[in-house]
Symmetry: C2
Subunit: 237 residues, 2 copies
């Protein structure tokens, strides 16, 4: 059965890397000793080693080992053998480009559908959706495709931000951007605020954390979903 | 000689569409009667007709006619025959995708290099750079390439926003995103704040408006450029 934790962000304001979600992770990873870390999104351009050490330090708190995928000769085999995978945040374009370079998309889908645990934050969560067309990131590299894992039947917008009514900035709000997305795409989009995450077990998706999430559908008024089981019916749209 | 006005935004806070820049446009377009408008970026998903009417209303204030490129049978011939082009803002991915579909990139470069006036705002400014990899927009469609007009020898980041020191949001700041860009690209990036524009005449580029612009170079500390002639030496980098 598919088991995933899909988090809006690795870090919430005033707290350490992953700190807010460590109790959930301790439970989620209770059966595994080591997690395969995929550092490809390279936030702020850090090296794979630096990034893996950041993840290692946090996972050390819950007594789990971390091994970076770049430490293996063959990343495909690393995915095949992993009991648990953590895909960290950073730049989604860079992450997707690198996953395509190593032909890892189908490998990760196969693994997660066979029960390999998946934990993602930010860009690592973005790619669990149908495509990466609702990322907030800058397109600093050109990936061969925007299609992503499709492990959930909708798209995510992590770090979802409500419009600031006092802003004098004339760039688009997040809501406007997602409305523009729906001018070209039918896929529902879930705006996941910082501090929220999805707990996925097979077909069951639970919104966790204290905040509601905002669901955007083509040609409909967005709605707020409270924490708890969420049902996003795709078929009727 | 190449003559361009490259503006960060169409609209500044508390003012109508193009209002802040109309005096500059009246002078810039003084020799032409009609401007070819390219509405492909479709801000907020408006139709080409709706968007063209918005531009028409503003240009009416300075006694200039506007014709939308979609009103012509052959957009290439429309570009070839235009004395002046205005590319409006919206979504840069949609704009670039549509320009590629109509094979207009080389046509616009040829026209502008032969003296056709070019005015761009936001997405329409973004595409004057070497590539669109420093856009702020959401990748709602997948264009065949990120390469753009290359009419200026650097990239732009329109609607440039300084980090907000009071923010509790953990998404990347604009500066972090541009630093990530420089992890993969050497091209200098000019962060153009709302209310600023570049006045380009051949090789001479003047920063206009009241604000400074922020220049980012790979592996260097960003610097502020005051309004006036700007020189971005590419060769030494």
């Amino acid at each position: 059965m598919k088991k995933m934790i899909i988090a809006s962000t690795s870090t919430i304001y005033g707290s350490d890397y992953l700190e807010y979600i460590l109790p959930e992770l301790a439970d989620f990873f209770k059966e595994v000793e080591e997690v395969l870390f995929i550092p490809y999104a390279r936030p702020g351009g850090v090296t794979y080693d630096e990034y893996t050490n950041v993840a290692r330090k946090a996972f050390d708190e819950i007594g789990k080992g971390i091994k970076g995928i770049h430490e293996f000769n063959d990343p495909k085999i690393a995915v095949q053998n992993a009991k648990a995978i953590f895909v960290g945040g950073g730049n989604t374009f860079v992450l997707v480009d690198t996953l395509y370079k190593h032909n890892l998309f189908s490998e990760i889908v196969k693994a997660v559908e066979s029960g390999t645990l998946y934990f993602g934050t930010s860009a690592g969560s973005n790619i669990t959706g149908v495509n990466m067309k609702t990322t907030n990131d800058m397109p600093i590299v050109y990936p061969p495709d925007f299609k992503t894992l499709g492990l959930i039947p909708f798209n995510l917008n992590p770090h979802y931000l409500d419009p600031d009514p006092s802003s004098k900035h004339k760039g688009e709000t997040r809501e406007t951007r997602i409305r523009e997305f729906h001018g070209y795409n039918d896929i529902p989009v879930l705006g996941l605020r910082e501090g929220s995450w999805l707990d996925v077990k097979g077909q069951k998706i639970i919104l966790k954390g204290e905040l509601s999430a905002k669901l955007f559908r083509k040609s409909e008024k967005p709605i707020e979903l409270d924490p708890g089981i969420i049902r996003i019916d795709i078929s009727s749209h």
